[in-house]
Amino acid sequence: MNWVELIAGVLLLAGAAFVLVSAIGVVRFPDVYMRMHAATKAGTLGAGLMLGAASIVFGELGITVRSFVVFFFLLLTAPVAAHVLGRAAYYAGVPRWERTKLDELAGRYDEADGTPGELGRPVQRGDDIPYP
Protein backbone atom coordinates (compact mmCIF):
# COMPACT_ATOMS: atom_id res chain seq x y z
CA MET A 1 0.00 0.00 0.00
CA ASN A 2 1.42 3.31 -1.00
CA TRP A 3 0.77 6.87 0.10
CA VAL A 4 -1.67 7.63 -2.68
CA GLU A 5 -3.89 4.72 -1.72
CA LEU A 6 -3.66 5.65 1.96
CA ILE A 7 -4.76 9.24 1.32
CA ALA A 8 -7.54 8.10 -1.01
CA GLY A 9 -8.73 5.57 1.59
CA VAL A 10 -8.83 8.22 4.32
CA LEU A 11 -10.80 10.55 2.02
CA LEU A 12 -13.25 7.77 1.12
CA LEU A 13 -13.85 6.88 4.76
CA ALA A 14 -14.24 10.53 5.78
CA GLY A 15 -16.68 11.08 2.91
CA ALA A 16 -18.71 8.03 3.88
CA ALA A 17 -18.73 9.22 7.51
CA PHE A 18 -20.07 12.62 6.48
CA VAL A 19 -22.82 11.03 4.38
CA LEU A 20 -23.75 8.78 7.31
CA VAL A 21 -23.84 11.74 9.71
CA SER A 22 -26.04 13.66 7.31
CA ALA A 23 -28.45 10.72 7.14
CA ILE A 24 -28.55 10.52 10.95
CA GLY A 25 -29.16 14.26 11.03
CA VAL A 26 -32.14 13.92 8.72
CA VAL A 27 -33.67 11.50 11.22
CA ARG A 28 -32.68 13.36 14.39
CA PHE A 29 -33.32 17.00 13.61
CA PRO A 30 -36.67 18.31 14.77
CA ASP A 31 -38.15 20.11 11.76
CA VAL A 32 -38.00 20.10 7.98
CA TYR A 33 -35.73 23.16 7.69
CA MET A 34 -33.10 21.76 10.03
CA ARG A 35 -33.26 18.45 8.21
CA MET A 36 -32.47 20.32 5.02
CA HIS A 37 -29.41 21.77 6.78
CA ALA A 38 -28.14 18.29 7.59
CA ALA A 39 -28.88 16.84 4.15
CA THR A 40 -27.31 19.65 2.10
CA LYS A 41 -24.07 20.46 3.86
CA ALA A 42 -22.68 17.21 5.20
CA GLY A 43 -24.01 15.27 2.20
CA THR A 44 -22.33 17.55 -0.36
CA LEU A 45 -19.06 17.55 1.57
CA GLY A 46 -19.13 13.75 1.86
CA ALA A 47 -19.76 13.26 -1.86
CA GLY A 48 -17.02 15.80 -2.62
CA LEU A 49 -14.46 13.95 -0.49
CA MET A 50 -15.32 10.65 -2.21
CA LEU A 51 -14.92 12.24 -5.65
CA GLY A 52 -11.58 13.66 -4.49
CA ALA A 53 -10.50 10.16 -3.49
CA ALA A 54 -11.48 8.81 -6.93
CA SER A 55 -9.50 11.45 -8.79
CA ILE A 56 -6.44 10.89 -6.57
CA VAL A 57 -6.39 7.13 -6.89
CA PHE A 58 -6.79 7.13 -10.70
CA GLY A 59 -4.65 10.20 -11.36
CA GLU A 60 -5.93 10.61 -14.92
CA LEU A 61 -7.00 13.85 -16.50
CA GLY A 62 -10.31 12.45 -17.74
CA ILE A 63 -11.36 11.17 -14.34
CA THR A 64 -10.16 14.27 -12.49
CA VAL A 65 -12.10 16.51 -14.87
CA ARG A 66 -15.22 14.39 -14.53
CA SER A 67 -14.92 14.42 -10.72
CA PHE A 68 -14.65 18.21 -10.80
CA VAL A 69 -17.67 18.47 -13.06
CA VAL A 70 -19.74 16.14 -10.84
CA PHE A 71 -18.73 18.11 -7.74
CA PHE A 72 -19.52 21.39 -9.51
CA PHE A 73 -23.00 20.20 -10.44
CA LEU A 74 -23.56 18.96 -6.87
CA LEU A 75 -22.61 22.41 -5.57
CA LEU A 76 -25.02 23.90 -8.09
CA THR A 77 -27.99 21.60 -7.51
CA ALA A 78 -27.93 20.50 -3.83
CA PRO A 79 -28.60 23.99 -2.41
CA VAL A 80 -31.23 24.68 -5.07
CA ALA A 81 -33.05 21.47 -4.12
CA ALA A 82 -32.87 22.33 -0.41
CA HIS A 83 -34.05 25.85 -1.17
CA VAL A 84 -37.04 24.64 -3.18
CA LEU A 85 -38.00 22.02 -0.57
CA GLY A 86 -37.63 24.53 2.27
CA ARG A 87 -39.65 27.13 0.40
CA ALA A 88 -42.39 24.66 -0.50
CA ALA A 89 -42.55 23.47 3.12
CA TYR A 90 -42.74 27.04 4.37
CA TYR A 91 -45.42 28.00 1.90
CA ALA A 92 -47.45 24.88 2.68
CA GLY A 93 -47.33 25.86 6.37
CA VAL A 94 -45.25 22.98 7.72
CA PRO A 95 -44.83 23.80 11.43
CA ARG A 96 -41.45 24.93 12.71
CA TRP A 97 -39.73 23.54 15.78
CA GLU A 98 -41.25 25.19 18.85
CA ARG A 99 -37.92 26.68 19.86
CA THR A 100 -37.66 28.68 16.62
CA LYS A 101 -36.88 32.10 17.97
CA LEU A 102 -37.77 34.55 15.28
CA ASP A 103 -39.51 34.40 11.91
CA GLU A 104 -39.15 37.46 9.74
CA LEU A 105 -40.86 35.75 6.81
CA ALA A 106 -44.11 35.15 8.70
CA GLY A 107 -47.12 36.87 7.22
CA ARG A 108 -45.23 38.16 4.19
CA TYR A 109 -46.61 35.75 1.61
CA ASP A 110 -48.93 37.08 -1.00
CA GLU A 111 -51.66 34.43 -1.01
CA ALA A 112 -52.43 35.03 -4.69
CA ASP A 113 -49.10 34.14 -6.28
CA GLY A 114 -47.07 32.61 -3.48
CA THR A 115 -44.22 35.13 -3.38
CA PRO A 116 -43.30 37.28 -0.37
CA GLY A 117 -45.18 40.52 -1.05
CA GLU A 118 -44.81 44.25 -0.19
CA LEU A 119 -41.08 44.17 0.04
CA GLY A 120 -39.57 47.17 -1.63
CA ARG A 121 -37.88 48.28 1.55
CA PRO A 122 -35.13 46.61 3.52
CA VAL A 123 -36.35 44.91 6.66
CA GLN A 124 -35.68 46.97 9.77
CA ARG A 125 -35.10 45.83 13.28
CA GLY A 126 -38.54 46.87 14.46
CA ASP A 127 -40.17 44.71 11.80
CA ASP A 128 -39.62 41.46 13.66
CA ILE A 129 -42.81 39.47 13.69
CA PRO A 130 -43.00 37.25 16.78
CA TYR A 131 -43.40 33.56 16.24
CA PRO A 132 -46.95 32.66 17.33
Partner: protein
Amino acid sequence: MSLLGLHLGMAVLWAMATGSLTFPSLLMGIFVGGGVLHLLGPVLGDPRYGIRFYRAIALAFFFLWELFASGIRVAIDVLRPTLSFTPAVVAVPLELRNEAAIVLLANMVSLTPGTLSIDLSEDRSCLYVHTMYGEDPEAARQAIKHDFEERIQEVFR
Protein backbone atom coordinates in the same frame (compact mmCIF):
# COMPACT_ATOMS: atom_id res chain seq x y z
CA MET B 1 -17.22 38.90 -18.34
CA SER B 2 -16.53 39.39 -22.07
CA LEU B 3 -12.87 38.55 -21.56
CA LEU B 4 -13.68 35.13 -20.10
CA GLY B 5 -13.69 33.40 -23.51
CA LEU B 6 -10.35 34.98 -24.42
CA HIS B 7 -9.01 33.86 -21.04
CA LEU B 8 -10.03 30.23 -21.63
CA GLY B 9 -8.59 30.38 -25.15
CA MET B 10 -5.28 31.57 -23.71
CA ALA B 11 -5.28 28.68 -21.24
CA VAL B 12 -5.77 26.12 -24.04
CA LEU B 13 -3.11 27.88 -26.13
CA TRP B 14 -0.69 27.71 -23.19
CA ALA B 15 -1.37 24.00 -22.75
CA MET B 16 -0.84 23.36 -26.48
CA ALA B 17 2.32 25.46 -26.58
CA THR B 18 3.84 23.53 -23.69
CA GLY B 19 2.98 20.35 -25.60
CA SER B 20 0.91 18.69 -22.89
CA LEU B 21 -2.86 19.01 -22.76
CA THR B 22 -3.08 17.95 -19.12
CA PHE B 23 -4.86 19.33 -16.07
CA PRO B 24 -1.81 20.98 -14.44
CA SER B 25 -0.78 22.72 -17.67
CA LEU B 26 -4.34 23.99 -18.21
CA LEU B 27 -4.36 25.35 -14.62
CA MET B 28 -1.00 27.00 -15.25
CA GLY B 29 -2.38 28.49 -18.47
CA ILE B 30 -5.36 29.90 -16.59
CA PHE B 31 -3.09 31.61 -14.08
CA VAL B 32 -0.70 32.96 -16.72
CA GLY B 33 -3.71 34.14 -18.74
CA GLY B 34 -5.01 35.89 -15.63
CA GLY B 35 -1.71 37.74 -15.28
CA VAL B 36 -1.67 38.74 -18.97
CA LEU B 37 -5.28 39.96 -18.84
CA HIS B 38 -4.48 41.85 -15.64
CA LEU B 39 -1.87 43.81 -17.63
CA LEU B 40 -3.94 44.08 -20.83
CA GLY B 41 -7.27 44.78 -19.12
CA PRO B 42 -7.12 48.58 -19.47
CA VAL B 43 -6.45 48.24 -23.23
CA LEU B 44 -9.19 45.65 -23.79
CA GLY B 45 -11.85 47.69 -22.05
CA ASP B 46 -12.13 45.90 -18.69
CA PRO B 47 -9.49 47.36 -16.37
CA ARG B 48 -10.75 45.41 -13.37
CA TYR B 49 -10.75 41.98 -15.02
CA GLY B 50 -7.48 40.82 -13.45
CA ILE B 51 -8.51 41.91 -9.97
CA ARG B 52 -11.94 40.32 -10.33
CA PHE B 53 -10.37 37.10 -11.57
CA TYR B 54 -8.12 36.79 -8.53
CA ARG B 55 -10.99 37.76 -6.22
CA ALA B 56 -13.05 34.96 -7.78
CA ILE B 57 -10.26 32.44 -7.11
CA ALA B 58 -9.98 33.65 -3.52
CA LEU B 59 -13.77 33.41 -3.13
CA ALA B 60 -13.73 29.81 -4.43
CA PHE B 61 -11.11 28.79 -1.88
CA PHE B 62 -12.88 30.64 0.93
CA PHE B 63 -16.10 28.86 -0.04
CA LEU B 64 -14.46 25.40 -0.09
CA TRP B 65 -13.07 26.10 3.38
CA GLU B 66 -16.50 27.21 4.63
CA LEU B 67 -18.09 24.07 3.13
CA PHE B 68 -15.59 21.94 5.04
CA ALA B 69 -16.17 23.85 8.29
CA SER B 70 -19.90 23.56 7.77
CA GLY B 71 -19.74 19.76 7.31
CA ILE B 72 -17.74 19.42 10.54
CA ARG B 73 -20.15 21.67 12.41
CA VAL B 74 -23.24 19.78 11.21
CA ALA B 75 -21.54 16.50 12.15
CA ILE B 76 -20.84 17.78 15.68
CA ASP B 77 -24.42 19.02 16.03
CA VAL B 78 -25.89 15.74 14.81
CA LEU B 79 -23.80 13.62 17.15
CA ARG B 80 -24.27 15.82 20.22
CA PRO B 81 -26.64 14.12 22.69
CA THR B 82 -28.91 17.13 23.19
CA LEU B 83 -30.19 19.47 20.50
CA SER B 84 -29.34 22.99 21.58
CA PHE B 85 -30.18 25.36 18.75
CA THR B 86 -32.17 28.53 18.53
CA PRO B 87 -33.32 28.47 14.92
CA ALA B 88 -34.60 31.65 13.34
CA VAL B 89 -35.73 32.88 9.94
CA VAL B 90 -33.84 36.08 9.26
CA ALA B 91 -34.40 38.61 6.47
CA VAL B 92 -31.17 39.74 4.82
CA PRO B 93 -31.51 42.93 2.75
CA LEU B 94 -29.49 42.55 -0.45
CA GLU B 95 -27.14 45.03 -2.04
CA LEU B 96 -26.51 42.74 -5.02
CA ARG B 97 -28.56 43.45 -8.14
CA ASN B 98 -27.08 40.98 -10.63
CA GLU B 99 -29.25 37.85 -10.84
CA ALA B 100 -26.32 35.46 -11.22
CA ALA B 101 -24.73 37.06 -8.17
CA ILE B 102 -27.89 36.52 -6.12
CA VAL B 103 -28.06 32.86 -7.18
CA LEU B 104 -24.41 32.46 -6.19
CA LEU B 105 -25.08 34.09 -2.81
CA ALA B 106 -28.16 31.93 -2.13
CA ASN B 107 -26.25 28.75 -2.99
CA MET B 108 -23.25 29.71 -0.87
CA VAL B 109 -25.51 30.60 2.05
CA SER B 110 -27.12 27.15 1.81
CA LEU B 111 -23.78 25.37 1.87
CA THR B 112 -22.12 27.20 4.74
CA PRO B 113 -22.43 26.66 8.49
CA GLY B 114 -25.89 26.86 9.96
CA THR B 115 -27.67 28.81 7.22
CA LEU B 116 -30.15 27.84 4.52
CA SER B 117 -31.80 30.20 2.07
CA ILE B 118 -35.58 29.78 2.13
CA ASP B 119 -36.95 32.46 -0.13
CA LEU B 120 -36.24 35.62 -2.06
CA SER B 121 -38.59 38.56 -2.06
CA GLU B 122 -40.40 39.33 -5.28
CA ASP B 123 -38.39 42.46 -6.04
CA ARG B 124 -35.12 40.62 -5.23
CA SER B 125 -34.23 43.03 -2.48
CA CYS B 126 -34.32 40.63 0.42
CA LEU B 127 -33.17 37.04 1.01
CA TYR B 128 -34.88 35.02 3.75
CA VAL B 129 -32.44 32.73 5.50
CA HIS B 130 -33.10 29.97 8.02
CA THR B 131 -30.29 29.80 10.56
CA MET B 132 -29.64 27.17 13.21
CA TYR B 133 -27.72 29.60 15.40
CA GLY B 134 -30.12 32.51 15.63
CA GLU B 135 -29.43 33.63 19.21
CA ASP B 136 -28.49 36.99 17.76
CA PRO B 137 -30.38 37.57 14.48
CA GLU B 138 -28.55 40.83 13.80
CA ALA B 139 -25.18 39.07 14.00
CA ALA B 140 -26.38 36.35 11.61
CA ARG B 141 -27.51 39.01 9.14
CA GLN B 142 -24.21 40.87 9.34
CA ALA B 143 -22.22 37.64 8.96
CA ILE B 144 -23.91 36.85 5.63
CA LYS B 145 -23.52 40.40 4.37
CA HIS B 146 -19.91 40.68 5.44
CA ASP B 147 -18.61 37.18 4.64
CA PHE B 148 -20.34 36.56 1.34
CA GLU B 149 -22.18 39.50 -0.13
CA GLU B 150 -19.18 41.84 -0.03
CA ARG B 151 -16.87 39.24 -1.56
CA ILE B 152 -19.35 38.39 -4.33
CA GLN B 153 -19.83 42.07 -5.03
CA GLU B 154 -16.08 42.43 -5.50
CA VAL B 155 -16.17 39.71 -8.18
CA PHE B 156 -19.18 40.99 -10.10
CA ARG B 157 -18.40 44.71 -10.00
